[in-house]
């Protein structure tokens, strides 16, 4: 399946991916409004690691054998059998963080405001991950089969 991969050699550590991740998952799909108006502004679903000069963003790998799905105590975490996308049903999620415990990528974010596990859904709504689309240096690629 197509996944987001980071090229750390050209990640500039600007964190625009985070800005656009938030925007993409905000009820406004606009940076300014997401930040200025959205009272329930979501947490970014991206982890940015930085130890200069290295930096990269890391998001859910949508593992084939997703441990988070198996470990989830509520059944909120699901892997779509068709698309392979792992998503968290926030209605079911109770914020027990078992997924956080088992995700070896550390890619699941605790959204403490909403007490739900927050993770990359590959911007399922728009079909193209906002982080990839807006990465100013093409350090993120959305592709099949790794890089």
């Amino acid at each position: 399946m197509k996944k987001v991969y980071a090229k750390e050699e050209v990640c500039v550590g600007c964190k625009l991916c985070e800005v656009y991740c938030i925007t993409s998952h905000s009820k406004y799909k606009d940076v300014l409004k997401a930040y200025k108006l959205d009272s329930t502004r979501p947490a970014p679903r991206i982890i940015i690691e930085e130890e200069r000069p290295i930096s990269f963003s890391l998001q859910c790998r949508h593992c084939d054998d997703a441990p988070c799905v198996k470990a989830c105590i509520t059944g909120a975490m699901q892997k779509d059998p068709e698309t392979g996308v792992v998503t968290c049903d926030t209605d079911k999620c109770v914020g027990c963080w078992t997924c956080v415990l088992v995700c070896s990528f550390g890619a699941i974010v605790r959204d403490l405001n909403n007490k739900i596990a927050s993770k990359c859904d590959l911007c399922a709504e728009t079909g193209e991950p906002a982080c990839v689309k807006n990465c100013p240096n093409e350090a993120l690629v959305f592709t099949e089969g790794g890089i």
Binding site: K3, Y5, A6, E8, I47, E49, E50, E51, I54, S55, F56, L58, R61, C63, D64, D65, P67, K70, A71, I73, T74, G75, D91, K92, V94, C96, W97, T98, C99, V100, L101, V102, C103, S104, F105, G106, I108, V109, R110, G145, G146, I147
Partner: protein
């Protein structure tokens, strides 16, 4: 082929989902004494605390059985197994034939043999029915005594406190959550509970129960007497091996299984809290009664039952638990038994954060994280994959420890889609 699963929880779901990925035709029959659609057992404390409705406790969607073509016999207990005739005997005398059998009966609560157990308002807390019962009997300011400060007791305390009960935990060990916490981390958690008025008695246990029809007070071994409206036993669970008693299926603490989750008897498998499977850290068999293990073991059993060779790498204990704003994630060996382990700790007791990593040789074998729990799974992964942490050992405790601290090759092999399945 007829596949029979005794049990209707995580291991069952793991097995069914694994089977149906490859095999759409075999008959699957699920037998359980509980009458409910498969639900999430860990959510009973959330149910108790009113944070989830019964509706939302469904572990899988309502059409789970139908979608997976599973026949269910719910509300009827399986009482024994005839491994020679390949038959499960139900409490109503019905016989269920199997070609492959998965025993996933889970655990049963342990209640010590003490005086006064016959009083009312004494119960255990591992099933939905028990949660319902508890919920109906509790009233604001009810005095609740929980015997056992382990995972179940801890969550029960949270739920009861949320309902306005006056809660006291009685724990024999010197700290609560003694299997997953060390002293320092337990003190942080204890402090948090005390702040909410939850009382904790450690180093002692129940001596006897006093009351007429209903429980009235509990006498502790240290002499203390606790006025009690409701008494909950949460000392622990033991593998529910009743159904195989008297068979040739070998039991130690739980049903002994190999790495395919097969018992010593052909065509009989066991998974979940009832099974005593391989613990990769102890390098021996052990009952690890936690939800994720149950699913994974069920999955492994399911695959092997339909002839797809699959082994688990083994399991190890891991828990994510919390009380309101206090988060606890732990895994593996957290209290090293001998000198051959190394321990790294970073604690900030003012901020109530605690990070402990236990290493054996060059591998992480366990950790405790209190509050600073983000990305805990990276450590879990390092344990699970037995990755040599030597190159970044001194960075393990960093606040923002992550893939960036991995050697480049390791990082890239993990991150860039070259992960080994």
């Amino acid at each position: 082929m007829d596949i029979v699963i005794i049990g209707n929880s995580a291991a069952m779901v793991g097995a069914v989902e694994a089977i149906r990925k490859h095999d759409k035709t075999s008959n699957i029959t699920v037998i359980s004494d509980e009458k409910y659609h498969v639900y999430s057992r860990p959510l009973i404390s959330y149910y108790l605390a009113d944070t989830v409705t019964e509706e939302k406790m469904a572990y899988r969607s309502k059409d789970f059985y139908q979608k997976n073509n599973v026949k269910t016999i719910l509300g009827t207990k399986a009482v024994s197994v005839d491994e020679n005739k390949k038959t499960v005997i139900l409490e109503n005398g019905d016989l269920v034939k199997y070609d492959k059998l998965l025993i996933a009966t889970g655990g049963k609560p342990f209640i010590p043999p003490i005086d006064g157990l016959d009083k009312k308002n004494i119960q255990t807390f591992i099933k939905l029915d028990e949660a319902k019962k508890l919920k109906s009997s509790i009233k604001p300011n009810s005095k609740a005594v929980i015997v056992g400060g382990g995972l179940i007791g801890f969550k029960a305390a949270e739920g009861l406190h949320a309902l306005g009960a006056d809660v006291t935990i009685v724990e024999l060990a010197d700290r609560i959550l003694s299997t997953i916490l060390d002293n320092e981390s337990a003190s942080i958690v204890t402090k948090r509970l005390l702040k909410d008025g939850i009382k904790i008695k450690v180093g002692t246990t129940i001596d006897k129960i006093v009351g007429e029809d209903y429980v009235k007070e509990v006498h502790l071994k240290n002499g203390e007497v606790l006025p009690t409206d409701i008494l909950i036993f949460a000392i622990g669970v033991t593998p529910n091996t009743d159904v195989v008693k008297g068979t040739s299926i070998k039991i130690n603490r739980g049903i002994l299984v190999d790495r395919n989750m097969k018992t010593n008897v052909d065509d009989v498998y066991a998974a979940g809290d009832v099974a005593e499977g391989f613990d990769m850290l102890l390098n021996s068999n052990r009952v690890v009664p936690i939800w994720p293990n149950a699913y994974i073991q069920g999955e492994t059993a399911g695959l092997n039952m339909i002839g797809i060779e699959n082994t688990t790498n083994g399991i190890f204990p891991m828990n994510s638990i919390g009380y309101k704003d206090t988060y606890i994630i732990t895994a593996g060996i957290i209290n090293p038994p001998d000198e051959s382990y190394d321990v790294m700790v970073k604690a900030d007791l003012d901020k109530n954060t605690y990070k402990k990593i236990v290493l054996k040789e060059n591998n992480i074998v366990g950790f405790i994280l209190i509050n600073d729990v983000d990305r805990a799974g990276i450590y879990t992964g390092l344990i699970r994959e037995k990755i040599d942490v030597t190159p970044f050992r001194n960075q393990l405790l960093k606040d923002d420890f992550g893939y960036i601290n991995f050697p480049k090759d390791l990082r890239k092999s993990k991150m860039l889609g070259q992960e080994v399945r």
